[in-house]
Symmetry: C2
Subunit: 133 residues, 2 copies
DNA sequence: CGGGATCCTCTCCGATACTG
DNA sequence: CAGTATCGGAGAGGATCCCG
């Protein structure tokens, strides 16, 4: 129909954009690594396979709930593999999959950029805060 | 004090880790680009300076509130510059600062990685979902 | 045109308690 | 040891109305 109100057109545009957003790889990537603990867990696992309690000790700030949730999420997305060894106390080991290995360089790049430029951000922030005060 | 309970030790470790987290460049970077609209606004601005309404039209999914909030945040962190031209209808232009220019390659890298590997993620997700069903 | 203020919802995340 | 379940707070984000 050519006879649409502006509101309808806007609505349609928004819907189309929403659909695009859903499938936009960049947004999906952010949905994965943007989670608070994801990168840190990935980074810890990059050093080698770890058991649940080992990851927990390495990241003292994370609660058991979030660690489990993060691990499950990463497992679902194919970044980590979960191996259960049915011994007397159950033993669970988490390790990076090949896909997990491939995201490490990206995280490394991000860390590198952050280390080089975070000072500028702090400076800009301080300048902005003092100027507006 | 050497005489601490395990709970106290854990608490102290957590506090120290929390302090580390606050200053960890990587987490701060995530706090900046991890925001839903930040990267898309940055990406839009990378193509050249834009007025408020132009950005809004380019990103139909964002509400005025979030656009303003995102822009303010990016301005505070020194990624975008805000220029107000006091004409009859006020005219506001947003442009990337040099620091803003420097984060574009990083975003480009992330987009590139996402485009190359999001398929694997989808595959892993589908496999995980069908297996567990 | 370019917002500010207010209200509401939904998700992230932590704390606590319980299970095999 | 390795979780699951539930509660509750904080903040992201959307909708709507209003202002210069």
């Amino acid at each position: 129909m050519a006879t649409m109100t502006a509101a309808q057109r806007r609505e349609q545009e928004r819907a189309a954009f929403g659909a695009f957003m859903e499938t936009c790889p960049m947004n999906q990537l952010l949905g994965i690594v943007g989670r608070q603990w994801s990168t840190m867990v990935l980074w810890e696992l990059a050093a080698g396979p770890r058991r649940y309690a080992e990851v927990s000790r390495a990241l003292p700030g994370v609660s058991a709930k979030m660690l489990t949730q993060t691990l499950r999420s990463l497992e679902r997305d194919g970044f980590v593999a979960r191996t259960v060894t049915p011994s007397v106390p159950v033993q669970v080991e988490y390790a990076l999959t090949p896909l997990g290995d491939r995201i490490i360089p990206l995280i490394a790049t991000m860390i590198d950029w952050a280390n080089h430029h975070i000072g500028d951000v702090h400076a800009a922030r301080a300048r902005h805060d003092t100027t507006s005060t």
